[in-house]
């Protein structure tokens, strides 16, 4: 086993280099799964609609945050939408999906009442604008993950 403790110079203090390495598996649940399978099988982006509040949640979720009703009305939304905000990340981290610089934004798709976070691609960071119109680009090989959408590219 490799050494995991290191002595500090000049004093009897040791530093233990540890890690917590427990693999986790998360269930998307029935509603989340239907959304993800829609991305994989039909390149469809779906939301659920609350009839009381007349709000469409994208990605689809099972409960309305304001009226607590359980949602079962499914709506397909457009692949096109508007960038509500964006940022460019330069600091790499092992949990990131792609290498830096990583451009991501909050995108509200046409037909949805909520924004969601995803990456922006095929765009020069200088040209990013709040309000710019974007279009989803899907991967060829999809696995029922939010990353089946590769990124959103500028329209037009």
């Amino acid at each position: 086993m490799s050494k995991v403790t290191e002595k500090l110079e000049g004093m009897n203090v040791w530093i233990y280099h540890g890690q917590i390495y427990i693999p986790n598996i998360y269930s998307a649940g029935a509603v989340g799964s239907r959304f993800l399978v829609g991305l994989r099988d039909k390149k469809r982006i779906m939301g659920t609609r609350c009839p009381t509040c007349n709000r469409v949640y994208v990605p689809a979720r099972s409960v309305c945050k304001d009226c607590f009703s359980q949602l079962d009305e499914w709506i397909e939304v457009s692949h096109q939408g508007t960038v509500l905000s964006y940022s460019v990340c330069h600091q790499p981290n092992p949990v990131q999906p792609v290498e830096t610089p990583l451009v991501y934004g909050i995108i509200q798709l046409d037909g949805a009442d909520t924004g969601f976070v995803h990456m922006l691609g095929e765009v020069d960071p200088e040209q990013l604008r709040v309000g710019m119109r974007v279009q989803a680009v899907f991967k060829e090989e999809r696995v029922a993950s939010i990353l089946d959408i590769k990124y959103f590219k500028p329209l037009g």
Binding site: W14, Y16, G18, I20, N24, A28, S33, V95
Partner: protein
């Protein structure tokens, strides 16, 4: 002959549940501080087990503490060497491999884990060398076995490999 409506023939399909795996280790650094550091130093340099002694109640604590858990006074720097032989009071051994979060893999530690009553009345938790479960019993006499190589030591309690059974 009338054809059956396609709706009736459609099978009930089982819903597909998606699961997402997340496998990134979370590294951290943890300092022993100078009290536990003294234990590390004695183990590495001299192959000794030491604890600190409370100035008021004279009880020895290992893990070494800054404040006495019983009297709540500052412990000071009175270090006492503990004996390295003792008697096994409790033990257990793994049958199935368990997931170890420190290494990120499943392994079955073959060495039994035991609570050993050292000869001065102090309890110490350690592994036993004896892996044959039929030879284990409460009351058996054991002795600490250290890592021989100086360079290998400096891992604190892990400098003691295990406790070996000694014949009376």
């Amino acid at each position: 002959m009338a054809r059956e409506s396609p709706k009736k023939k459609a099978k009930e399909s089982k819903p597909e549940y998606i699961q997402v795996a997340f496998n990134t280790p979370r590294p951290y650094n943890w300092s022993t501080g100078k009290y536990l550091g003294k234990f590390y130093a004695e183990a590495k340099e001299n192959r000794k087990i030491v604890g600190n002694r409370c100035p008021k109640c004279k009880e020895i604590w290992l893990q070494p503490t800054v404040v006495c858990p019983k009297c709540k006074v500052d412990m000071g720097w009175d270090w006492v060497q503990l004996p390295q032989t003792g008697t096994v009071t409790q033990y257990t051994y793994l049958v199935y491999p368990l997931w170890d979060p420190h290494y990120g893999e499943k392994w079955a530690n073959p060495y039994p884990s035991a609570m050993i009553l050292l000869d001065n009345g102090f309890y110490y938790r350690a592994f036993l060398e004896e892996t044959d479960k039929d030879k284990l019993r409460v009351g058996m006499r054991v002795q600490a076995v250290w890592k021989e190589d100086y360079e290998e030591r400096g891992q604190g309690p892990a400098d003691i490999l295990y406790f070996r059974t000694i014949e009376d």
